[in-house]
Symmetry: C2
Subunit: 187 residues, 2 copies
């Protein structure tokens, strides 16, 4: 699979986006991508993204994450009806539903954090593969219906759905508060 | 002309560590580093790591994360007494305590996930800067004492402490289950 990183902006941006290091650059360049071309996403790419997710750390290395890879059109259409972000889901040629296996969980807070770390790896991996992705959380309002639609065992708790596709042309923006607002103190 | 099947990797390494792409390689190469040399970690490096953390996505972009950067020896020694991983904390020349600001939170599960995404960015950034890091969660057992020691407002909820330093020589290992155990289905 040929990684296709998106071109970097020419002019250095504020907020440290002008990194020379590829990983730091990727972290600050990543954006939620909500518009996709019609080009399909291969199963191989989805597996690569999931694999990156599984390299996240988890408490006591319990690796509680489980995944459903979705490219089937009918399933995508049905999923779209379960979120207010219907348009994004309809536009995305692939989706990955991320669950936690309750049998593997050991601590609610830490397992939810691990799911977040896993999702972040997935988003970075998608970008590295030249894809665009967005983490959909609002669909958790209907997580039981999602689980039933995907015919997944009851012990699996939906954490998020990631929508994926080849980015449609267009500028992506993101805003972050100044760093100083996040640093409570330095001692 | 026969259609040419795409070439497969000649000698695939286990766990996807044979990536050409720097970001995918960094994700699968990252390890929890628990032994450090005596070399100090600059405040600038800590700020770069925190900045990477803040580029994580958060639900409704609430950016609920807050940080305390710790290099002061006395504080590190006191923190070490609040976890069974005393040895790691004593060995680390720098620590970053990650909190969520309850005033900024909007959904417990999603905010904890966002903290996890933030922490994963921090771990990847540390590695990119040539540092070693480990995410310490066990210290949450004493999160109230940590908050008081760091003299942080009560509204801040400790999510984790990251220990950081220059990696001491030695092999780092990590184990992950086979990918197939995580993929419930592909549809």
């Amino acid at each position: 699979m040929q990684p296709q990183p998106r071109p970097r902006p020419q002019t250095p941006k504020p907020n440290g986006q002008d990194h020379q290091h590829p990983v730091l650059a990727a972290i600050s360049r990543r954006r939620s991508i909500r518009d996709y071309t019609a080009a399909e996403v291969t199963e191989e790419a989805l597996r690569e993204i999931v694999r990156a997710g599984t390299w996240a750390p988890s408490g006591i290395n319990n690796q509680p994450w489980r995944f459903v890879l979705i490219r089937d059109e009918q399933t995508r259409k049905q999923l779209a009806e379960l979120t207010k972000y219907r348009r994004i889901v309809l536009s995305a040629p692939a989706l990955i539903a991320v669950f936690l296996d309750r049998d593997a969980m050991y601590d609610q807070v830490k397992d939810h954090q691990a799911a977040g770390a896993c999702l972040q790896n997935m988003l970075l991996a998608a970008e590295a593969l030249g894809l665009g992705a967005v983490w959909l959380g609002q669909i958790l309002q209907n997580k039981e219906q999602v689980r039933q639609l995907l015919e997944v065992e009851q012990k699996h708790d939906l954490m998020a759905v990631v929508a994926l596709g080849h980015p449609a042309p267009g500028e992506q923006r993101a805003q972050r508060k100044p760093l100083e607002e996040f640093i409570l103190k330095s001692i």
